[in-house]
Every structure is written in structure tokens, then in C-alpha cells.
């Protein structure tokens, strides 16, 4: 019984045991906690230390400080703009175009499978 629980996931060319990995994660968390203990002891809440330092500029309101979803990965999407242009063109919301994709796939598969 205990053997079936401990048996690893066989993947054909290796194995994996989630329990061992879970143990490793717990050990890693412990290590992190210990390292955290070495941190500065003179940090105090509610004083000047907690304020964000924005090169001397005044702090924004909380609403503006939050990094919004559209701001994340801006560089990535900008770099792959040509790919995204094609992809956005595909998802243009036109029902006829969606049906056309279906027809295109059927036609292509007809040519591939039907000819052979």
C-alpha cells in the first residue's frame, strides 16, 4: 500500500517523485527563512523608512502606484509587434472570417489527404 503511494511517476525515460520534490521545497523554504533572519534588525514600521524613494519626487497616490496589467510585458509585445499584428488580424471578430478559417483548413486537408 505504502509502496504505491511512494512509487514515482514513470515517464518512459526517467522518473519523478512529487513527495521528494515537496520535501525539497520545504527545505528550501526553511533556508529562505533562515537567510531572512540575517536581515537588518533596525527596520521599523511607520517611520520614514517605509516611504518609497522616487528620486526625490513626491509619492503618487496608491491607485497610480499600482502597476497595471497593460503595463506589464510592454517591451515584449513591442519587440514582437510584427507577430502581434498578424495575430490581431486573425482575431478580428468577424464571423465570416472565422468560418473562412474553417473552410481553409478543410480545403488544405482535402489537398493533403485527398491527393495522397
Amino acid at each position: 500500500m505504502i509502496d504505491t503511494f511512494l512509487k514515482s511517476l514513470e515517464t518512459g525515460s526517467g522518473f519523478w517523485n512529487p513527495l521528494v520534490l515537496g520535501l525539497a521545497i520545504i527545505i528550501a523554504l526553511l533556508l529562505i527563512y533562515i537567510i531572512r533572519g540575517f536581515g537588518k534588525k533596525d527596520y521599523k514600521k511607520g517611520t520614514e523608512q517605509t516611504k518609497a524613494f522616487l528620486s526625490g519626487n513626491p509619492e503618487y497616490s496608491k491607485d497610480e502606484m499600482h502597476i497595471k496589467g497593460k503595463n506589464l510585458y510592454w517591451g515584449f509585445t513591442q519587440a514582437l509587434k510584427s507577430v502581434y499584428n498578424v495575430l490581431e488580424k486573425m482575431h478580428n471578430g468577424n464571423t465570416s472570417d472565422y468560418v473562412l478559417w474553417f473552410v481553409i483548413i478543410i480545403g488544405a486537408l482535402f489537398i493533403i489527404i485527398g491527393v495522397i
Binding site: K70, E88, H91, N92, G93, N94, T95, S96, V99, L100, V103
Partner: protein, 123 residues
């Protein structure tokens, strides 16, 4: 005597492609629905045509002449495709009703039936 050029099957294909043309190239939503309805009819005709047997009569024994019954089953058309077509017709009317009621709501919200102007909000 067999049918020249398989006219019924050609008609089936013609109906399917007329309907597909309406769905692909027409911009009016009601026209697209009409196209789907035509494809539906084409497939129904296809099923019925598959079940037709040369010189056969309908497989109903109440009205069948006696020589037909003697030669049964060779002298009767196939019953299964007709049953399938009945189901298919019901499916057709169900889909049609749902699509048209959606169209009425879409017109209420968008004020148009042009397929290019109707799209979800892509931020």
C-alpha cells in the same frame, strides 16, 4: 434508366455551396442565417437522395400495392435516411429559432446587422 449526371447530387452540392457563399461573402446577419438554412436543406436532400432506390415506393405497408410487397425489400426505398432527415429538420428549426432570436437582440444593442460592425470589445 439512370439519372443523367447525377443531377440530384449535383443539386445537393450546389445548395451547399450557395449557402456557404452566403455565409462567407454576405455581410447581413439574416443573410448568413438564410445561408445556413440552405446548407441544412441541401444536406437533408442529400440524405433523402441516398435512400432512394430505383423505382421504389415508400416503405409503408398500408398503402403499398401487392406486387411491391411481394418484391420487398428490393422495391422499397430505404427508411433509415428518412428518419435521419426528420431529426435533421428539427435540428434545423431549433438552430434557426435560436439564431434569429439572437439576431433580434443583437440589433437591439448594436443598431445594425452588418457583420463587420458587430464584434466583441478587443481592448
Amino acid at each position: 434508366m439512370t439519372m443523367i449526371f447525377n443531377i440530384p447530387f449535383i443539386a445537393v452540392v450546389a445548395m451547399i455551396f450557395i449557402g456557404l457563399y452566403a455565409v462567407l461573402f454576405k455581410r447581413n446577419l439574416v443573410k448568413m442565417v438564410i445561408g445556413i438554412s440552405i446548407i441544412e436543406s441541401g444536406v437533408n436532400l442529400f440524405l433523402i437522395t441516398l435512400g432512394y432506390r430505383e423505382g421504389g415506393v415508400v416503405p409503408i405497408f398500408t398503402s403499398a400495392p401487392s406486387e411491391v410487397v411481394k418484391n420487398a425489400p428490393g422495391s422499397m426505398v430505404l427508411p433509415v435516411p428518412q428518419a435521419l432527415t426528420l431529426t435533421s429538420i428539427v435540428i434545423g428549426v431549433a438552430v434557426l429559432a435560436l439564431m434569429l432570436s439572437l439576431i433580434m437582440h443583437i440589433y437591439e444593442h448594436y443598431g445594425t446587422l452588418d457583420v463587420r460592425k458587430i464584434r466583441g470589445p478587443e481592448e
